[in-house]
């Protein structure tokens, strides 16, 4: 049997970064792997168990490898508006927004969240593997602007995600903050198990849940308190493996797969977050407007594989005898019991119900375009 996890180049790559929860992962028997320059747990008890725990009870994720930038001052809003396609001006205080940063060609440098924390105060949350490049991009475009401050708080900020139908019940045992008042994609400052947090009702699993931004030094105490409070509810610590199967079922993009500098947010079916008419220019706007006017060459779709074979990223997508695209992600859907994937195909082949094929180990197996998300949680069929 081949063992793809063994990396012969591991000795020659630079040392991996560790989150403040590294020792907790070791204590819990987490299997550590490299991800975006970080040494992260891919699983503890097993991906299937962890995935099911998040869908039926709760899971606890260390996502402290994500980057956080503070953007503050009277020029903060205009600065952010110039960098991202979504409309930051629409954000109320204590509200969060999904957007991207694009290059001049409209390609996606990263996807991110923007929090409006207070008057002229914003926090931008970026992906781990792209953080350094994003920081250079933000710094370059902030240069010479004396009406804002830009601070990289990635190292001092930890992030724990509590996800699943029991998340609210678990978190409410550790905080006085009225969690039910925090709407989806909203946040509130609060204290959880004695740790000052930004409590955000966001996530990457397709379940209800919270993400807790807090000082790195207090991460182990908060992690342990959440584990202890959650265990009676069926909570499991969950690794990057389950995070990936959950986000795929929920139809969320993963940067480096569905999104790259060669893929625009319009192609990625994220047009809902691209506000060409928001009233201010932003980097990539002209290219995106032109692409919208001329039509998209390809678009992201979800595929349900009608076979047992698991199609993976880079599997070719076929329409009859024509190769029409490739998968950007693929896995066995643990909740649905059949393989699923996302990939790019011409718009004419993107309608749900379209029958295509994906190539697995040289064999073409049938796959059907389906609407995303693949999985809907029972209490929300929107």
């Amino acid at each position: 049997m081949t063992t793809p996890q063994c990396d012969p180049n591991a000795m020659t790559t630079p040392p991996l970064k560790r989150t403040p929860l590294f020792a907790e992962h070791q204590r819990l028997g987490g299997r550590m792997v490299e991800f975006g320059g970080w040494e992260m747990p891919v699983q503890y008890s097993g991906i299937v168990d962890e995935h099911r725990a998040v869908r039926t009870a709760a899971g606890l994720f260390d996502v402290s490898h994500m980057g956080e930038f503070a953007v503050e001052g009277p020029g903060a809003l205009a600065f952010l508006q110039s960098l991202v396609p979504n409309n930051v001006a629409k954000l109320a205080e204590n509200q969060a927004l999904y957007s991207q940063i694009c290059n001049a060609q409209g390609g996606t440098i990263d996807d991110l969240l923007i929090y409006h924390l207070g008057p002229d105060r914003y926090m931008v949350v970026v992906n781990a593997g792209t953080m350094e490049g994003d920081w250079a991009w933000f710094s370059q475009h902030a240069a010479g602007k004396d009406d804002l401050t830009l601070v990289n708080r990635s190292a001092e900020t930890a992030l724990i995600a509590l996800q699943g139908p029991r998340a609210l019940a678990i978190l409410s045992t550790l905080t006085d903050t009225p969690l039910g008042d925090i709407g989806y994609y909203h946040c509130a400052p609060g204290t959880v198990a004695g740790v000052g947090c930004i409590i955000s009702r966001t996530g990457y699993t397709g379940e209800d849940g919270f993400e807790l931004y807090h000082p790195a030094a207090q991460a182990p105490a908060l992690w342990r308190a959440l584990l202890e409070a959650g265990t009676p509810h069926g909570l499991l610590p969950a690794g990057l493996g389950a995070r990936d199967t959950l986000r795929l079922e929920a139809g969320f993009c993963l940067y480096g797969h569905e999104l790259t500098e060669a893929i625009t947010p319009l192609e990625a079916d994220l047009g809902w977050s691209v506000k060409l008419k928001k009233g201010t220019d932003f980097i990539g706007r002209a290219a995106l407007a032109q692409q919208k006017a001329e039509g998209l060459p390809r678009v992201r779709v979800g595929l349900a594989v009608r076979d047992r074979a698991v199609a993976r990223a880079e599997s070719a997508i076929w329409h009859g005898e024509e190769r029409v695209g490739a998968l950007t992600s693929g896995t066995m859907s643990i909740s649905l019991g059949y393989p699923i994937g996302m990939g790019y195909v011409p718009p004419a082949l993107a309608a749900p119900g379209t029958l295509l094929a994906v190539e697995v180990r040289g064999k073409r197996v049938p796959a059907e375009v389906v609407a995303m998300p693949f999985y809907h949680r029972p209490d929300n069929i929107s």
Partner: protein, 135 residues
């Protein structure tokens, strides 16, 4: 690999398949180390239709195993006619995780070169191999 189990009555290949010899037939599966390394097995591609009509060759690819996180290739540890394939694994591939030496067996081969078995590692040699490979 503290809690992994590699029974002493089996022989092991460097590609982590095991062999149990009974008379002139060998049962083949993957080791506890291999199933642990793969994680949750979700699908298997074995030579389902080939029993009685295919000669397996030692070291040659005979199937593929999908876990949630990756796909790996399977290699025949010994040569000979394919006698039987474990049909139960079609619908219960997770048996490879839960019972790698029992219900997780994959195929039975009629040994054409029984001396090949002696080339495979004993459990002690296999565990030493895992240690020296940095596993």
């Amino acid at each position: 690999m503290a809690n992994l189990n590699h029974p002493s009555d089996l022989r092991y290949s460097k590609t982590h398949e095991w062999v149990r010899v009974k008379g002139d037939q060998a049962t083949v599966g993957i080791s506890d180390y291999a199933q642990d390394e793969l994680g949750d097995v979700v699908s298997l591609e074995l030579p389902w239709e080939d029993a009685g009509k295919r000669e397996m060759q030692a070291g040659r690819h005979f199937g593929d195993i999908d876990s949630v996180k990756a796909t790996s290739e399977l290699f025949a540890p010994v040569s000979g006619q394919l006698v039987q394939v474990n049909e139960d694994l079609r619908d219960a591939p997770e048996t490879v995780n839960t019972d790698p030496y029992g219900g997780g067996w994959m195929m039975i081969i009629q040994l054409s070169k029984p001396s090949e078995v002696d080339q495979l590692m004993t459990s002690d040699q296999y565990e030493e191999f895992l240690r020296t490979q940095g596993h």
